[in-house]
Symmetry: D2
Subunit: 391 residues, 4 copies
């Protein structure tokens, strides 16, 4: 199928089938039906030929690379429920990518295949409550101790997206070293039913479009057999980069769609309202907001594509993904904020879909690494690039 055709089909499906539900439930996916809704929409997406644009072809998807998926993900992200409907939502999308890169044949059969077909959901358990791993992953405190036939995990996880209802977890735990030192992390695969895993409360965050919420997860003497180690022991931080680089870019793609919708709603509203003897859209200060939104959307898209090209070429692309993520996290929120301002009272109400989009976009400046951590990393790389590798 041509890329243009896939985009058109996605646009049609999102607007006709997904947006009406999204708007009816003000972007609250749990209130709208949760997994039942997801399953229903995914079936329809399959029928429409648009399921899993990035899912490997062997599992029923389109197997698109990063550059190809960008416009599709943006089209899906136009609705807050679109990513779930097309099976390209976080965290499953990133977990599929990681398992596809690193999983053993047995792990592929047991975990990747049903996840890729959307027969189950998954979660990625890295973040911990303070003073554990967060912006600074080296603070990792969850421990994995060797026992006969495998490992025993103990620790607390927090902000685990999609944990409630996940069939399995990818768990990051420390296999060597002490909190505050790098290295020594390993990834473990574990069914949610493993004894000792307990999904706790949903942390009540601003955003509401993630299936399974952001949850606390406690691990108490969780046994993981040797063959469920994902990749090599002590290789966890390296694999996290395998997952996080592309995962940040797919986040950008999806949120780009949401921000674009906020902008288009605002422009349409500004065209249809009058004040001070003019359409709002003809007033200079409103034109400035419209133009700044166009600039922010275009720059986000341009930086995204630069990073996607590098990733598709097999590079790790740490600089270009950090730049794209940081810029997007701030720019897309600005877009929603200006859209809100253009619509006045309606903008801050749920009469328009702008407030709900703003509510989803703000946390993106924090999730997947706050802007400050990315800036720190960008600056260090810049210093080395300019002043030499030893500086």
């Amino acid at each position: 199928m041509s890329s243009r055709h896939l985009i058109d089909l996605t646009n049609t499906f999102i607007r006709s089938r997904v947006l009406p539900i999204d708007d009816e439930f003000d972007g609250d996916i749990t209130a709208a039906g949760g997994d039942a809704l997801r399953i229903e929409l995914q079936a329809e997406a399959r029928d429409a030929g648009i399921f899993g644009p990035q899912v490997p072809v062997e599992y029923g998807g389109h197997g698109l690379n990063m550059c190809e998926r960008a416009p599709i993900f943006e089209a899906a992200g136009y609705s807050l429920f679109g990513p779930a409907a097309l099976h390209l939502a976080a965290p499953d999308e990133g977990n599929i990518h990681l398992l596809d890169q690193v999983g053993s044949p047995e792990q592929r059969d047991r975990f990747l295949a049903p996840l890729a077909r959307a027969e189950m959901r998954s979660a990625f358990a890295m973040t911990e409550p303070a003073p554990g791993a967060g912006s600074d992953p080296t603070l990792l405190r969850t421990r994995a101790d060797r026992v006969a036939g495998g490992w025993r995990l103990n620790g607390m996880k927090s902000f685990i997206t999609g944990a409630d209802g996940a069939s399995f977890f990818i768990i990051m735990a420390r296999t060597s070293g002490e909190p505050g030192t790098p290295g020594g992390a390993t990834m473990f695969l574990s069914p949610a039913t493993a004894p000792g895993i307990k999904v706790g409360q949903h942390i009540p965050t601003m955003d509401r479009s993630m299936l399974g919420g952001h949850c606390e997860v406690s691990l108490e003497d969780v046994f993981v057999p040797e063959d469920q180690v994902l990749g090599g022991v002590d290789e966890g931080f390296r694999y996290a980069q395998v997952r996080l680089g592309p995962a940040r870019m797919t986040h950008v793609m999806r949120w780009l769609g949401a921000a674009r919708r906020a902008h288009e709603v605002a422009v349409t509203s500004a065209v249809n309202r009058r004040a001070f003897g003019s359409r709002l859209s003809d007033l200079g200060m409103v034109q400035q907001m419209i133009a700044d939104n166009e600039i922010d959307l275009a720059a986000t898209r341009a930086l995204l594509m630069v990073a996607c090209h590098e990733l598709d070429a097999g590079e790790r692309a740490p600089m270009s993904t950090a730049i794209a993520k940081t810029f997007a996290g701030e720019a897309l929120h600005r877009v929603a904020d200006r859209a809100m301002q253009m619509c006045g009272g309606l903008g801050v109400s749920s009469s328009l879909p702008i407030a709900k989009i703003e509510r989803e976009l703000r946390p993106f400046r924090v999730y997947d690494g706050p802007s400050e951590v990315h800036r720190w990393s960008i600056a260090r790389r810049a210093v080395r690039a300019i002043a030499g590798p030893h500086s």
Copy 2:
């Protein structure tokens, strides 16, 4: 009572009595008990000697002028429920001011006295759904037609804060001219029980701390007797300025308290968390956010006091109040936004009170005139001041 003593009592009351309820109900005043809660807290505030700092002394308040009330309102605003608890919340606070300035002796007895004593609530009905009065008040469409003994009002109002549960309304209606032309507006007092007044749905906005919500109100052949005209016929826009100048400043005072709380919570959090081998509060990028918050809070307070001095000197102060409102609307939201960023994942959750404060502050950039309208007005005044009155 000395000013310092009143501030201390207010701080104590807010922290011990009001904040716990505010935090338990995540700043949702309706969920926390609505008017029943207000009445209970106001009784306690009376016992504590801090009720109605700005309420005229004859009605049981402290009769403070603008400069005196600024630190008290800020202290009350430290909790989202504080303004209701001390009887200094919008819109009653502005309506008390207006009635005190403009009301006839009979109107004072019937409307001002019970309102000032907090025996009832009120609402100010000016804004209309598009294409009516909003940012551009000259678009006013609600009509008042002369009939025997008074006036008959017809029209639709929208975003009427506190309408649900209000005992009476101050209604702005057109008594001459056509929508799009200035002049010709008049203010009318009417009990909420007057036939033809219907309070419709609450507009579901981001903010949740206003008693009685933001409602639609329909007016169908509402009869208002002559002696319930507030001030002179066709003088409505002039009186609106009497109300709006100070009302904008008291908004700034209250939101200044809320923003300060978000900042203090974030600084405390940053002192107690570590990453990258340091307290968060010792990292340069976090220090920059802390400093920028201090600067924004200080500048807001400084501009506020300039405007209050002018108002206390009997000036209309259109320039200084517009500048203070515009700066505060943007700066205080920046403060909450940075506070959120400093706290990472917790910042975007309701584990901390920052997200709820941000949710209240954002609409302030729109309510009481969006920044763009104030900038337009500031620019026009600047041009006349610099290039001469005829330019």
Copy 3:
């Protein structure tokens, strides 16, 4: 020659031959020798095989398209004298492009060929003193009246870059309609020696790297024969777009190089200085400036390449060039401003090359259309794209 090789040669030439002179004369090209310096450096560039990257092959250049020339122009722009040295400076570069697109065979021989070979310089005379053509080109007042065998031009031009020393002018004059109405402009070619053309004073602007300055030019009964009309009569505004779209992008390329230099100088300085017990480059607030510079440079380059791809595909690209120009005009100045701040007192002195770069970049937010005019145009296009062609 491979693109990579051309870039390497350019970098070497700029650093070894051009930067030393640039720095010795603090970026003042007139003080450094003016045309004599240009001719000398161009000869060396020819010998080095890097002359005229964009000049058509038939005239001795490399004939690179927009995408190919971007990195070369950036490498040349690393020195403020680089563009002149490689014969890719404004306004000649844009005039070559325009003549190549629109010129008749005779015009190519007489004007394009010697210009492309850098045997002469040229100027583009569109802007006028107020109340004439500036940000709003429809205000064009210079008139061209039909006379026997051609046209007679009268008017005043201002800010004509490169006028002093130019061998010929492309003059925009009104051939129909009145100032304030669109249409009716025509482009005329005229040798500088034509009777009635007088190059007046250099307007003393902040920037000093443009050969021939920004001059006033008066036109008094200047006769232009029919065969020196460039393109069709009344087609001037359309041709201006042919010139201005690419010309704006080549400006961005060159200034990108200059801004990058300011950034690299500042990072190197921050690596080598210590304060507060740390290298400056390890302080969080400095890292934030470094990272923001990297982001601004990357986003400028990304937006530039989007526009170049469209232009190379034969599109007019009005939206993407306006976005890239507006973003670059502001972002590149921010880069220089942050570089200056990172270097403290040295940053604001001519001990480092940052102040001179800042001085060149600031006017770019005004030249070739101020940001506000581009935003107005972007907003209008966005409204039509989103709300329909008739909105």
Copy 4:
């Protein structure tokens, strides 16, 4: 004399006598005549009764406190030459203040009296070339060693404002401790004619309105007798604060005047130019720039007055002066930058006085402590105020 009268006289003098010379010489005080011009204008200012608003009455000035001097200094700063003309320019103004606070009776007679009467000029020699004292004053490397009857000073100073032509210096030198450790600095008074003091080259900075430039000064075995120690030994950093708090505020006052002039020139220009069928001053994006300028000017003035009230009350005011300096340094440059943008091509030329004002204002973000150092200090104070003195 009433404060209002003094302001009026100052405005008249500045506009009639000082601005014409300032504009003729594009703000270059050396080109305009240097000390000869200063002496001439100061004589006229004395005749006009406006000399030395802050100079102690015993030395012929008005002895105004900080709050009183603010509007006068702003009025004087309206011209870049105004501060010198009224004898309220840096560094003499700050040195007069310091000597008046700390000087012994003999030091007052010998140094303060002739300086206060403007019979000589002075300089404050603290800053050193890297790796010495700059943003981080603890890096102080200039040493003072005890010798018979006094001290012997050795070291290099840099960016010493007003050094060329100064009759005496206040020199900060280390009397104990090592570079990188606090404490141990002492202030020394020394005539410029003392053997071993050599004023070197002027550092070529962007700004040109400071008499005597910013110079390198070398100290080679400079003998300072005991009675020329200013204040106590090892008390230098504490005295520096006595000088710097108020000196920062008087900088803000003066630059406020300059920024206001840029703004007024731009507004006047925008009223008189037309584009797109409208006066520029009626276009929304221009109105936004005008309004933002008014807001920045008003906020600067409001923060300044808060700090001045504290200083006049005898407080050290480290928080409010740091906030006012940081805000002003950035806001006033924004004002000049927007003024430049409003005026287009003329704005970046010396046809209008905006470019020269921008050139003076930019370094203020660096001089007297860059914004980053002030933010660091503000953040540390905020942390202690919010989280307790031991945090």
